[in-house]
């Protein structure tokens, strides 16, 4: 996996709280056995007026001409709540998003993003307001994400964001998490040898 350091792109606003993973990718699209091809079904119920994905809903933000080509998604509180389906970050990534900036994220979804090199950024609601306004006023607003320095820069604004050091480091280095753990094999073995007898 290649690492994530900086990103420059435009954003699409999805201005609502509690966007759950059933909305991000509904269950009928979880029947695949691969990690690819979910982008066309992203936000299916909101994005399409029909079940067969022929007719786009012109009212839905992501379908508006001014937000085409956006690589950053803006949302509000508790983004990605509900089901643990990793198909949600796969769909966002496949659609073309590299970053999701929201007021807050559900835990499992957040971890799934990190494991897929999709950067989840939390900003306080007041800063999200500034970001939403900037993008709604000028959809061409270029947003620069600097992960090493934990900054979001656009127009005249610059916001600092928090991210756990190990998440940041994994994203930047793009490391194979399993490969890293396998290097600790002697410690795992030692743990197993000392485990409670009925759990060995």
């Amino acid at each position: 996996m290649t690492g994530f350091t900086t990103h420059l792109g435009t954003a699409a606003p999805l201005d609502q709280a509690n966007v759950d993973t059933d909305q991000i990718i509904p269950k009928q699209f979880l029947k695949g056995v691969t990690r690819t091809g979910y982008g066309k079904h992203l936000f299916h119920d909101w994005r399409y007026l029909d079940l067969h994905e022929q007719e786009l809903n012109p009212e839905f933000s992501l379908n508006k001409p001014e937000y085409q080509g956006a690589s950053i998604l803006l949302a509000r509180e508790n983004f990605g709540c509900g089901s643990s389906r990793e198909h949600a970050p796969w769909a966002l990534d496949d659609f073309g998003f590299s970053v999701v900036i929201a007021t807050s994220f559900a835990d499992i979804f957040y971890g799934n993003c990190i494991n897929n090199q999709l950067l989840p950024i939390s900003l306080p609601n007041s800063e999200m307001d500034v970001l939403f306004n900037a993008v709604k006023e000028n959809p061409e607003t270029q947003i620069y994400i600097d992960l090493p320095n934990q900054k979001v820069k656009f127009a005249d604004s610059e916001f600092q964001f928090d991210i756990a050091e190990h998440h940041k480091s994994n994203l930047i280095k793009g490391l194979d998490a399993i490969g890293q753990t396998l290097e600790l094999d002697d410690k795992i073995l030692q743990y197993e040898e000392n485990a409670l007898t009925w759990l060995r």
Binding site: Q28, R76, E77, G82, D107, N115, L196, W198
Partner: protein, 464 residues
Amino acid sequence: MAKSLYDKIWQAHVVDQLGDDSLIYIDRHLIHEVTSPQAFSGLNEKGRKVRRPEKTFATMDHSISTRSLAIDACGPENQLQLQTLANNCKEHGIELFPVGHQKQGIVHVIGPELGLILPGMTVVCGDSHTATHGAFGALAFGIGTSQVEHVFATQTLKQSKAKSMLINVDGKLPVGITAKDIILAIIGKIGHAGATGYVIEYAGEAIRNLSMEERMTICNMSIEAGAKAGFIAPDDTTFEYIKGREYAPSGESWEKAIAYWKTLHSDDGAQFDMVVELAAQDITPQITWGTNPGQVTGVTNTVPAPEDFSDPIDRESAIKALAYMDLKPGTKLTDISVNNVFIGSCTNSRIEDLRAAAVIAKKGKVAKGVTAIVVPGSVTVKKQAEDENLHQIFIDAGFEWRLPGCSMCLGMNDDILKAGDRCASTSNRNFEGRQGRGARTHLVSPAMAAAAAITGHFTDVRDL
């Protein structure tokens, strides 16, 4: 220093400390067809093996039909997914309970039923309702597919310790109030994201008095408040449930295990980052009116108005939810009609749930225009219900009696609602489109679902 139950289980599972993260050993891994195929293919691409296949158990539940045992009953895509699971389990030496097997059922029903879940264990599954197993005093949580692959290869996970929340439900539960009502009332109180970043320990007299199946219902919905996990300290009720189950320890191991399990409780003076108190006597039968499980109220109430919420986010969510649910503020909940009833899911498909629903089903017939299905959680539950003749009570009342599976909880199969359908459901999520695009879901207890089935509208089960 006084330790919480969470501290104790956590510390017992640290393999290595990696900066802020701990490498945690996983004692039990449960898998199903939807979230495992990509994990197996990841392993195969790198030429890796499943480290401890005997700690992993697989079942088929999400993508299967509850009308037929045929693996292709829900079409070629579902069939491919199910076949892929079977192939992967065979290749990697994992025990699988496929459709038609005597031990098959919903992953969170069969785990406990088989004695695969024990106090103090760490349990994971690529499914957000894994917290169910916290009922045994296990640290159980849902994971993504990349993490499933990590557990396959290493039997560990990198984790940061979450914050801890203690939820005390004190006093005695009034007659007619169930575990489902307790957990919905909790989520209503703390909110749909109220426990994000936390693990919850449920305690108090009302929790202590619950059976294991009721405790599973409580822990199951921890994720619906955003919690990573939810658990209840093990006690004699727990030990009695586990004893003699197929995969449970026995003989000398049992004695040793019991001695250890008795140490698994939060010490007096243990610190929690947050404490929430509820009085059991205040809890009434709960019904969700909105599109997340926190949008819930008592059956005797009316549909709230957006203005009732002081928080602007809650107000905005209420406007959107009421539009989707096609409900008007001020409508009495008991005036809301349903045309579908679903009794099942990992939340409420165990034998006690079916018994509770059958007591109500006996009092009438499924109302005209209502389709009502009962989906037992496992082959074992189905057999037990049939031995008790519960299936006949349901069938005589006009309910459909189905085969075990996840069914209409998420509709990845042939149990799916149409746009505009309104369902009283014993499942765990009332998200937009969860049971079918444009369909409206109200979460309730099994007794309340059965009551809605026979009256055709929500009814206070205490009045029947």
